[in-house]
C-alpha cells in the first residue's frame, strides 16, 4: 500500500469514528427542533429545514422555573470556580514555596477527597446539611452557598493539583527578588505569581466551572426548590413530564452547550486536567 493511500484510509476511519461520536448529539439537536407531529415514524438523520421550529427552545427559555435553574447553575459554577481558584492558588503557593513538616501528607489527603465515590457521601452530607450545619431555622440545605462550598470537595483538590504544577514552573528567584525589595507575601502573589500563572489559572477556572456545571448527584439530593440547578432540571424533564421529548432535548442541548465552548478554549489541557496531571497532554 502506498503511503498516501494509507493516509486516506486513516482519514476515512476517523470520519467514521467522528460520525459515531456526533450522531447521538446531532439526533438530539434534530429532536429539539422538530415539531411534535414529526417526532415519531421513520427516523431520518437529515434536517428538514422547512419544518424546523425553535418553539421548544422558546418554551424552555421563557419558563420561569428553567430560568431559575439556569441562573442557579451559572451562579453556583461561577462562584465555585472563583472560590477554588483563589483557595487553590494560595494552597498551591504554600505547597510549592514553603518548607512545612508533613505537607506531603496534606497533599495526599487533599487528593483522596477527589477519589471518593459521591454516592457514599450523599447520606452524611444530607444529614449534615439539614441538621448540623444550621443556625436556627436556616440550614445549608437547598442553598446556593451550600452547593458552592460542597463542590469544593470535587474541585479544590483538582485546582490545587493543577495550580501547584503551574507555580512550580515559575522560578522561585522571581519572588525572592520581590521579597528582597520589601514586598509582602500578598504583594508577591499579586504582582509576580498571578500575572505569570494567569493562563494556568484561566484553564483551571474553566475546567472547574464545567465540572461544577455538570454535577448532578449532589445537586439533586441537597437542594429541593430554591437552589436547583440545570442538571436537576434536565432529569426532572424525564421523570416528571415523561414524554415531552422535544423540550427535554432542548434543555439537554442547553446543558451541553458549555461543553462545546470549553472544548474550543482548553482542548490542549483537558488530558492533563482529567488525569490530575499524571499524563501530560
Amino acid at each position: 500500500m502506498t503511503r498516501a493511500g494509507s493516509k486516506w484510509i486513516t482519514f476515512a476511519l476517523w470520519v467514521l469514528f467522528s460520525l459515531m461520536t456526533l450522531v447521538p448529539i446531532w439526533w438530539m439537536f434534530l429532536v429539539s427542533v422538530k415539531q411534535r407531529a414529526d417526532l415519531f415514524g421513520k427516523p431520518s438523520f437529515l434536517l428538514n429545514i422547512g419544518r424546523m421550529t425553535w418553539d421548544n427552545y422558546a418554551i424552555v427559555i421563557t419558563n420561569p422555573a428553567f430560568q431559575k435553574y439556569m441562573l442557579n447553575s451559572l451562579i453556583v459554577s461561577t462562584a465555585n470556580a472563583a472560590l477554588v481558584c483563589a483557595l487553590g492558588l494560595l494552597a498551591a503557593y504554600a505547597m510549592s514555596r514553603y518548607r512545612m513538616k508533613g505537607k506531603d501528607n496534606i497533599f495526599f489527603w487533599v487528593l483522596t477527597n477527589r477519589m471518593a465515590p459521591p454516592a457514599a457521601f450523599l447520606l452524611p452530607l444530607y444529614l449534615l446539611f439539614t441538621g448540623v450545619f444550621s443556625v436556627g431555622e436556616w440550614s445549608l440545605f437547598d442553598t446556593r452557598i451550600g452547593l458552592i462550598l460542597l463542590y469544593c470537595v470535587l474541585n479544590l483538590p483538582f485546582a490545587f493539583w493543577l495550580l501547584q504544577g503551574i507555580i512550580d514552573g515559575i522560578p522561585a528567584e522571581l519572588d525572592e527578588a520581590a521579597y528582597v525589595d520589601g514586598a509582602s507575601t500578598w504583594q508577591v502573589l499579586r504582582t509576580v505569581i498571578i500575572p505569570l500563572a494567569g493562563p494556568g489559572i484561566a484553564v483551571t477556572g474553566i475546567l472547574t466551572w464545567v465540572f461544577a456545571w455538570n454535577e448532578y448527584l449532589f445537586a439533586s439530593t441537597l437542594t429541593s426548590v430554591n437552589a436547583r440547578t440545570i442538571t436537576t432540571g434536565l432529569a426532572e424533564f424525564v421523570t416528571v413530564t415523561g414524554t415531552n421529548w422535544g423540550q427535554m432535548a432542548a434543555v439537554a442541548m442547553l446543558t451541553l452547550l458549555p461543553a462545546a465552548l470549553v472544548l474550543a478554549l482548553v482542548q490542549k489541557h483537558i488530558v492533563a486536567g482529567l488525569t490530575f496531571g499524571a499524563v501530560k497532554g
Binding site: K7, T10, F11, W14, F17, T21, L22, I25, W27, M28, L39, K42, P43, L90, A91, A94, R97, M100, K103, I106, N113, M115, A116, P117, P118, A119, A120, F121, L123, P124, Y126, L127, L128, V132, L150, C152, V153, T185, V210, W213, N214, Y216, L217, L234, A235, V238, W245, M248, V251, A252, T255, P258, A259, V262, Q267, V271, L274, A278, V279, K280
Partner: protein, 291 residues
C-alpha cells in the same frame, strides 16, 4: 523557602473547607453506621446497634447484587475502552488530514454533563422515537426495549459508557505514545522484528505507567457511575442496571433508614478504597523499589 507559619495560613482555608465537606461526612457516616436510626421507626432517635447494620448488609441480596453488577459493568467498560482506546490512539499517531479537527470531535463527549449524555442516549433508544429500536427492528428483526430486556439494558449502558469515556483512554494513551522515544522501535525494526513483536515487547512495556494510570482513573470513575445510567434506564428493568451508587441514591436514601444507609455507604467506600489501594500498589510497583 519562607517561614512555615505563613505557609500554613495559606493552606488553612483549603484544609478547613475540606474538613467540613470531606472529613466530617466521613466521621459522621462512620458513627451513624453503628446506630439504629430511622425517622419513621417507633423510636426515631438513634440507638446503639453495634454491628447489626453490617450484619443486615452482608445478607442483603439487593445490595450484593448491585455490587456485583457494578463490578461486572466496570470490567466490561474497562476492557473494551482500553482495547478500543489503544487502537484509536495508534490510529491518531498516524499522519492524516484534519487531525486537529478529529481530535477535537473525539474529545467532545468528555466535557458533556453525564446527565446530558444519558439524555442523549435516551433519545436514541426510546421506542417509537429513537433510531436504534427502529433500525434494529427493521434491519435485523430485533425487538429492542430497554424497559423489558435486562441484557439489552446492560449492554446499552455499557455502550453508552464506551461512547462517553473511550476518548479519555484514547487521549491519555495518545499522550503516552507521543512521549515514547522512537529509537528502540526503529532499532527493533532494523533488527528485523515484526510489528506484533514491536508492539508486545517494546511499546507495551514502555506504555505501562500511562496504561496503569488510565486504568486506575477509569476504574474509579466506573465504580461511581450514576447520572447517565439513571437517565437511560432508571436502573431497570427491575434492578438489572441498578449499580451501587444508584442503589444508595434511589433505594436506600429515600427510606430514611439512616443507620443502615450509612453502613452501606461506608461499605461502598471501603470497597472503593481497597480497590484503589490495590491498584495504587500495582501502579507504583513497590515490589521492585522502595517508595
Amino acid at each position: 523557602m519562607r517561614s512555615s507559619t505563613t505557609g500554613w495560613l495559606l493552606l488553612l482555608p483549603t484544609i478547613v473547607i475540606l474538613v467540613f465537606t470531606g472529613v466530617m461526612p466521613f466521621i459522621y457516616v462512620l458513627l451513624t453506621s453503628f446506630f439504629d436510626w430511622n425517622l419513621f421507626a417507633v423510636n426515631p432517635e438513634p440507638q446503639w446497634a453495634a454491628a447489626n447494620n453490617f450484619r443486615r448488609l452482608v445478607h442483603d441480596a439487593e445490595f450484593l447484587k448491585s455490587i456485583w453488577l457494578t463490578l461486572k459493568f466496570t470490567l466490561y467498560v474497562l476492557v473494551s475502552q482500553v482495547a478500543i482506546g489503544f487502537a484509536l490512539a495508534r490510529l491518531m499517531m498516524r499522519d492524516f488530514p484534519f487531525k486537529k479537527f478529529f481530535r477535537a470531535v473525539h474529545t467532545l463527549p468528555l466535557m458533556i454533563a453525564p446527565i446530558a449524555v444519558g439524555a442523549t442516549w435516551r433519545l436514541m433508544t426510546v421506542p417509537g422515537l429513537g433510531p436504534i429500536p427502529y433500525y434494529l427492528k427493521n434491519w435485523f428483526g430485533i425487538d429492542y426495549r430497554l424497559s423489558m430486556f435486562p441484557d439489552q439494558a446492560f449492554a446499552s449502558v455499557v455502550l453508552m459508557d464506551i461512547w462517553h469515556w473511550t476518548p479519555f483512554v484514547t487521549l491519555t494513551l495518545l499522550a503516552g505514545l507521543s512521549n515514547l522515544p522512537q529509537e528502540p522501535v526503529e532499532q527493533a525494526r532494523i533488527d528485523g522484528a515484526n510489528e506484533v513483536q514491536i508492539f508486545w515487547d517494546i511499546i507495551l512495556p514502555a506504555m505501562k505507567p500511562v496504561l496503569l494510570t488510565t486504568i486506575f482513573i477509569r476504574i474509579m470513575d466506573a465504580l461511581r457511575v450514576v447520572d447517565e445510567v439513571w437517565m437511560l434506564t432508571q436502573g431497570g428493568p427491575g434492578a438489572e442496571t441498578r449499580f451501587i451508587g444508584l442503589h444508595i441514591w434511589k433505594i436506600v436514601f429515600p427510606k430514611t433508614d439512616y443507620g443502615y444507609g450509612s453502613a452501606m455507604s461506608l461499605l461502598t467506600l471501603y470497597l472503593t478504597i481497597v480497590i484503589c489501594w490495590l491498584l495504587y500498589v500495582a501502579m507504583t510497583a513497590r515490589k521492585e523499589r522502595p517508595l
